[in-house]
Amino acid sequence: MSKILFNNQLTKSIYEIGVEGSFEGAMGQFYMVRAWEDYPVLSRPLSIHDLENDKIVFLYRVCGEGTRIISNKKPGDEISLEGPYGNGFPMVKGRIALVGGGLGTAPLRFAAKTLWNSHPERLDIYLGYSDEDINSNRFSSFADSIRIDIGGFVTEMLNPSDYDVIFTCGPEPMMEAVARKAKSAKAKVFVSMEKRMACGIGACLVCTCSTKNGNRKTCKDGPVFDGEDVFFDEL
């Protein structure tokens, strides 16, 4: 068990929780988070939003019983984290765009920080929100430019031919649009998928993602996949 440092409400339903400890993890990886004993049965997979020497941060939306319990936890309370799990974003160079939608911006924050520290040729960030800006200020130190869309389609601002690599996470139609737009350009797209998970380690096959290479485990082979490989229409 680890100690909660802060659990701040950012919007009506979105929270940012910080947990004390020296955690490991790469951009795009996640932890299975549990703030209760037996029920709900399943832990909640949350991607790494930020990682420092002495703490880890997650961004989450209250959308069910589990996240409601997490949101009620106070600084000093304990929480269980298992991980890091999954196959995250690759370390890349060149001109990079990060395209996030809503809570899909969560893993991109840690990706932005990691990439920025590796001095890429260019790092532009595109953030789309349905009704309010959740966290664009968290990206400001780690980007050459940040473009924000509220209520529209963030993908319309993106010109894939400006980039070598694009990382995207958000609603599946948004990621599909990014992958489709990038196909005619030469940009390589990596998508971070979200699926309901149970074990989190690749044993139970409930988080299957349909790809050109057959079924893949979102928790272990993903959550980050090559954007060209995922069959969005079968999701």
Partner: protein, 300 residues
Amino acid sequence: MSCSKVDFGNLSFKNPVVMASGTYGFGKEYGEIYDASKLGGISTKGITLEERAGNKGIRIWETPSGIMNSVGLENPGVEGFLENEENYLSKLDTRIIVNVSGSRIEDYVETVNRIEKTSFDIVELNISCPNVKSGGMAFGTNADSAYGIVREIRKSTRKMLMVKLSPNAGDIAEIASACVSAGADAISLINTIQAMAVDIYSRKIIFDNTYAGLSGPAVRPIALRMVHQVAKAVDVPIMGMGGITNGADAISFIMAGASCVQVGTANFMDLRAGTRIVDEIEAFMDRENVKSLSEIRGIL
């Protein structure tokens, strides 16, 4: 510390705790978390003759004190299993149970034939999967069809043949008796209970396959009752399962007549549930001065 070694037919298990099919894969992933040799055994993910991609759509849904799954037997097929998993599993110092499923009796027979040459100890015949459109549970909810499939498969294997029963049968004790008369060496129960969930806003059923299988603590009292009924009806050893999450749950199944227990959904609540339950069983034995689990098996 007490020793929770148990006999299961003519096989000895170092303890009665077996990981249930479908929740433990083929052991590799959990092997990175703890040493499987601490377990009594592992029942593999269900194997079919041909590779299967499983069901589309949502595969897991939470309920109060439980989960519903609709994986639909995604598996690499028996050849893929033998090629990629046999070597790893055969090196583990624990009993390996191969869970076998299928749509047609001939497929079950062929799958069992191919497993016959392995070193694995037990074939667990899954005639109770609620998540496939043909075969599966259909074999296990009628005494005559259960008898027929077990009799055919009995001819194909000299391994211990354990039949996994469906709780969706009318009279589970009758099905168990039919399986034993057909040559089953052991019975495991219960598979998941057929269940359903609805998204009231989209006005649609959650699962593409319409129904799914309910497991976890929500089903435990029903599973316990069924294990008790089957233990009264047959003379072969029983592996009881259904929502076992701790040592006390396991002991209650043993008192109801199970020789071993399987742990499934609890692996998702606690990745180390298997070894923890072994420790809790042995702590109970210490506290209650139980020298062997045979002293308390089937006492109810």
